[in-house]
Homo-oligomer: 339 residues x 2
């Protein structure tokens, strides 16, 4: 099937290629009659502009690179869904890259993105500075990375300070006096903020968090939580409340506690972070700090679009609110859980 080009359309419509281009891009003036004829020709021939040629000519493609550490992490997949939808509506396609938390992989992704001449980048939990790596003046929105703002750099992230505080307060409210912290910083640098805010709030509330009550498992998934619980139990740590910096850690942790006969929330209360779908269906349902990947994605896409269109002089910083969702894992009084 031979490909139809502007030339074919021009011939069919009895105009020049320049005119066809003008009609397609709504550039310059042309008579209503010409426009109609061109549109008809396009329709008749089933013409689709070659994005490669278009991009080459314009020095940039209608493509946005999206870089995440792990696409099968629910937070990122939900984020991407929203981003894709919003950008697609604006006529942009997205290229997704999965770095597996590897700095090396991340560099390769940026190189690839630069080679594709993408018109923008959304990078979640980046280890590397996109702009330094790409060496092009491409607008970028960071998600969950504390970056310097600049004319082409914006940042969107959850309010992790509030999150850490909510977790600490909820734990103390549930009667916890000997807290334990399971950290995710090894994989998600941003969670350091949660950690600090959590610890600070405990201190404010007069609750002591000993150094050896901070665990940093090698992974942030179920297995990591499992391992953390094992370690805590093996080391004979004395704790009656746990803040796990991701829900998956929390669920793995609770699971292992259950196997060892420790009851949640009777013996130990647990607070997670994220509110993944699984949180509600765990045993017991997990109290957690909810963050909204949809909201974050929405803002990231919107901000990037503005930068790409040159409508944003300065980079912008957006802090997305979080909220506590109380479920059984912190309910000692037999109160009913939410739906």
């Amino acid at each position: 099937m031979a490909r139809v080009t502007v030339k074919d359309v021009a011939r069919e419509a009895g105009v020049s290629v320049a005119t066809v281009s003008r009609v397609i891009n709504q550039n310059g003036r042309f008579s209503a009659d010409t426009e109609r004829r061109v549109r008809q020709a396009i329709e008749r021939l089933g013409y689709q502009p070659n994005q490669l040629a278009r991009g080459l000519r314009q020095q940039r493609a209608d493509l946005v690179g999206v870089v995440v550490p792990n696409i099968s992490n629910e937070f990122f997949s939900r984020l991407i869904m929203t981003v894709q939808q919003r950008l697609f509506d604006a006529g942009l396609s997205i290229m997704i890259f999965n770095t597996n938390h590897s700095l090396d992989m991340e560099r390769q992704c940026y190189a690839s993105l630069a080679a594709q001449r993408v018109c923008g980048v959304i990078s979640a939990n980046a280890l590397e500075d996109v702009r330094a790596a790409m060496r092009h003046d491409v607008p970028v929105v960071y998600i969950d990375r504390p970056a310097e703002l600049a004319p082409h750099v914006s940042v969107v992230m959850s309010d992790n300070v509030a999150g850490g505080r909510l977790a600490a307060r909820e734990l103390v409210r549930s009667g916890c006096t000997r807290p334990l912290l399971v950290s995710a910083t090894a994989h998600f640098p941003i969670t350091e903020v949660r950690t600090k805010s959590f610890a600070d709030t405990l201190a404010e509330l007069g609750v002591f968090l000993p150094d050896d009550h901070v665990l940093t498992p090698p992974a942030t998934d179920f297995a990591g939580g499992h391992a953390a619980a094992e370690e805590a139990l093996a080391r004979g740590l004395d704790f009656d409340g746990v803040f796990c910096e991701t829900d998956r850690l929390a669920i793995g942790f609770m699971n292992e506690l259950g196997e060892k006969g420790v009851r949640v929330p009777a013996d130990v209360t647990v607070v997670g972070f994220d509110d993944v779908l699984l949180a509600r269906f765990g045993r017991p349902p997990l109290t957690t700090v909810r963050q909204s990947p949809e909201r974050i994605g929405e803002l990231a896409a919107y901000t990037l679009l503005q930068m790409v269109r040159g409508e944003l002089a300065e980079g912008r910083r957006e802090l997305v609110p979080v909220e506590l969702v109380r479920r059984e894992s912190t309910m000692r009084g037999g109160v009913v859980a939410d739906s």
Copy 2:
């Protein structure tokens, strides 16, 4: 930052642009000395070939389109992770599109893919025929879609016949005599195969599945399972075993049963399909037919690569085995669950 092109590299290396191109693509002959000089120049200048120009010239981009109904469905996100990894290793980037199960959206995706001149497409659970829609001779691998093979069309999917059979046998083994089926066909056409195989196997085993014991909720997630259970209970259906065609349906179903005081597996046994991570951590842990998105993705990427390289004369059909993972939801005798 001015972009560096082949010309710059050629000047720097003291050769012609053609030679630079030859070195980069390992095309034609050139002396070892020339190659060294060119590589040094590339290194020194930080040159990155413009993929847009390259694609335009070659009539196709080093890009593969991946189309899925819902990226935040664990099956698809895990599939994509594998596909991306494999193709990236082969020098191809992927563009991901999310159709939200919408035929209209799917058509737009194919149009966009055609406009980008992708060199191949992997389409999961497609409603539409890619090739008809794209009108280009692009190799395509279908996942979970029973398509006609052709020189540029391959198919990869789980052995759904075996899956349906395993589910039926397990239900009967668990003592079920009055089965119920919760179907996912509304969203995933391929599951019709599971349905049929499940029903056929029950019949073979002498167990009757009445027509009104087949439920088709509007969604295939937790909410759908929830709704199905509500309906079954409300209609007073008499059942002691359920096959839910996705794990999320099964977990939603069990959850609602629990709320209504029906015990799993004591009163009703439940079998799911997929083996999502959540299956192991549900209450109770879910017996399910495991399919492997990683394995499917691996095969899909491999097959597509072969087709793109012209190494595959005919399309290929791959049936990926499934296996039963037995957990508490079908254990009536107090047997210990697997890990």
